[in-house]
Symmetry: C2
Subunit: 415 residues, 2 copies
């Protein structure tokens, strides 16, 4: 078995070739990858069955086993995603900025691939296919380190993808799977500065924290979302009810799910009884401060820790605040700079909230669940960045590129 450094060296060679591959060549490869997934579904499902059997033996939860399990339909879904990527514009070669300088030099800033992208992830096998596809489309080689529970599925998927890439005339080493049976492969990947250009951890808070602290390779942090909905004094309470319920319950376990509700004191009497009833109907437990608890015995007391918690479950923290600045202050203290929403009909309140709240996405009268590459129209998403450097919010194809200045003269010298 190759070491991570050896794999990274092969990836770098492949990346050099990919960097100048035409869009047509890359799209052909993506379509060949989709075809291969369909024609070789049986061997993928066989490998997956072994992972699923081991997961059952290991006593993993039904939810995890469901996420791990592949079917004909799910493999077809992966193939569809690759075809959709083929239809997206190529970010590479885009002229981001350009001008002719006073001395006649022609300046162009052009999008180029990063080179080698490392992705460490837990979760569904479809991430393997998505990440391979989005990296290839953006001209990057991918080093994929999935979870050990999906090791056989990921190996089968990667084998199919690599064959298809080679068949389409591009280097198979553009997609490589790292050893998922040991933590050493993550450690080696984090120290491969110079060989790996960027590292994207996708998964739980502890994984992300470890990568951020230990990696010498530049990292794009994804993830934790302690998202708030603030119902302003000038809110339309029907919209507030619908948006809050959707933000919390449309899907419980995603980073853009709302985890905390803040209600302006002026509308608490009119809003909270309705909202608490709707949460009760939806099976959501509300962890409230004293003022929220005064509206219903079903509300359990919120601790300071509750307000800082990303539940990822049918729970939400809730507090009454006396002003918009108090809501902003609360969000600054407890939020994770992912997605924050205000419900208001006031232009002034919307303007103040969007200016003062520091987050990747700020929603006005819209569900927090909209922070998503697909919803934003990016066509493909490698994750949602919660850092400020390079990319912030949903990351599509352009976020997987860097730039290069090309300057053309006719013998220009500096005086």
């Amino acid at each position: 078995m190759l070491t991570v450094n050896e794999q990274a060296r092969l990836a770098r060679e492949a990346a050099t070739e990919l960097a100048t591959a035409t869009r047509a060549a890359k799209d052909n490869a993506l379509r060949a990858m989709a075809d291969a997934l369909l024609s070789r579904t049986p061997e993928i499902l066989e490998a997956n069955a072994a992972d699923v059997a081991a997961a059952r033996e290991g006593g993993l939860t039904d939810a995890i086993i469901d996420r791990l399990t592949l079917t004909d339909g799910r493999v077809a879904g992966m193939a569809d995603a690759l075809r959709q990527m083929a239809a997206l514009p190529d970010p590479v070669g885009e002229v981001v900025r350009g001008s002719t300088l006073p001395n006649g030099l022609e300046l162009r800033q052009i999008r180029v691939p990063f080179g080698v992208v490392g992705i460490v992830y837990e979760g569904r096998p479809n991430v393997t296919v998505d990440a391979a596809g989005i990296c290839l489309k953006s001209g990057n080689a991918a080093l994929l380190r999935g979870s050990s529970s999906a090791a056989k599925s990921n190996a089968a998927l990667t084998a199919v993808l690599r064959d298809a890439i080679a068949g389409a005339g591009l280097p198979a080493d553009a997609v490589q799977l790292l050893d998922a049976t040991t933590r050493d492969s993550v450690k080696e990947l984090m120290r491969a500065r110079g060989l790996v250009d960027v590292l994207i951890p996708r998964g739980g808070a502890s994984l992300i924290k470890a990568v951020v602290e230990e990696s010498t390779v530049p990292v794009i942090e994804t993830g934790v979302g302690n998202c708030h909905v603030y119902v302003d004094a000038a809110a339309d309470l029907d919209k507030a009810l619908a948006v809050t319920l959707n933000s919390k319950t449309q899907r419980l376990s995603t980073c853009n799910t709302a985890e905390s509700l803040l209600v302006h004191a002026d509308v608490a009497d009119a809003f909270l009884p309705r909202m608490l009833a709707a949460f009760a109907d939806a099976g959501v437990t509300v962890h409230g401060d004293d003022r929220v608890r005064s509206y219903s015995d079903a509300v359990v007391p919120a601790t300071d820790e509750d307000f800082g918690t990303e539940y990822l479950s049918a729970d939400i923290s809730a507090a009454v605040v006396d002003s918009l600045p108090a809501a902003v202050q609360h969000i600054r203290r407890y939020g994770s700079q992912h997605t924050e929403a205000i419900i208001t009909e006031s232009v002034g309140a919307a303007r103040e909230f969007t200016a003062r709240v520091d987050a990747a996405a700020v929603m006005v009268n819209a569900s927090t669940r909209f922070t998503d590459g697909g919803e934003f129209g990016f066509g493909a998403e490698i994750g949602i960045s919660t850092q400020k450097l390079h990319a912030r919010g949903p990351m599509g194809l352009p976020e997987l590129t860097s730039t290069k200045y090309v300057v053309t003269g006719e013998g220009h010298v500096r005086s």
Copy 2:
């Protein structure tokens, strides 16, 4: 004396205020800073004289003492730079991308400040003023850690700037100087993740390497430039001579100075005798391979290490290559991805070189010395990034910002 963490907390408070300051308020502060530098020049020069005296006692070189020394003219130059920043457009608030989504949601991606920027630098005291100004203009609070040899000068400059900022109604803590007498302040700064948003090291290779490896705060790497000039078979040799000489000798100690010359074998006979004579006239020592040495006894033998060296002196390495791909291969092996130049009249050669060379800037028939924020028309520069994440090449005001998505609906929920 405050700890770095305490200073960073004050910076974060200041940054919150700066983030929503209008362009007018920031430009007023920049002009007030310029005025204060002029009116308080005597106390700045007095502090500087103490630094210079200590440097002489410490036996520092004349070159270092010259860089350290302030005069009325140099202080006036700093004030001018601040006035020029006031005249530049404000990057904050720029809508980078915007659209109305199919469901009617209005999506805008807006430039916002990073928040708190840490800058570690060696060298001239004018960096203190430049960095303070560019950070303030881009809405960021600055934590400045200069060299110990300039400690008194930097303290005087910072005191003047802080008074002016406060007088203009913005928070003085937007500009803070860290203790330069101990390495601990750099260490603390590198561990202040969550308080400091980005760290920019400017200085020698060892400083940059240490920060890159040890920092948990996201870093923008600046610096090392082992820049090449490649004279192609299709080069205009007069242009080649002028551009190579300018790239090497216009200023010896900058990161965009050429450190290596590659000459296509087809033009070596016609070009190298002229080039070597010109270098001899300019006092440049050429470290050449055997083929280069065959043209002049003055050429000293180049080791493998020479080709990887950023001399920052009147030295250049030189080799003859048999093809453009061989030149690209050499640059890939020895280059530092800063600036690479080709001299050619061939469109095909220029196209191949600019596509295949992986660097922040690629020059065609132009001096490597043009890789510079001022030359590129950015108006202000905080450094030249040699990494691929976030910013690559000269960094102006937009490179000191992140973005935020603002999404406006009318009660939109996700289905």
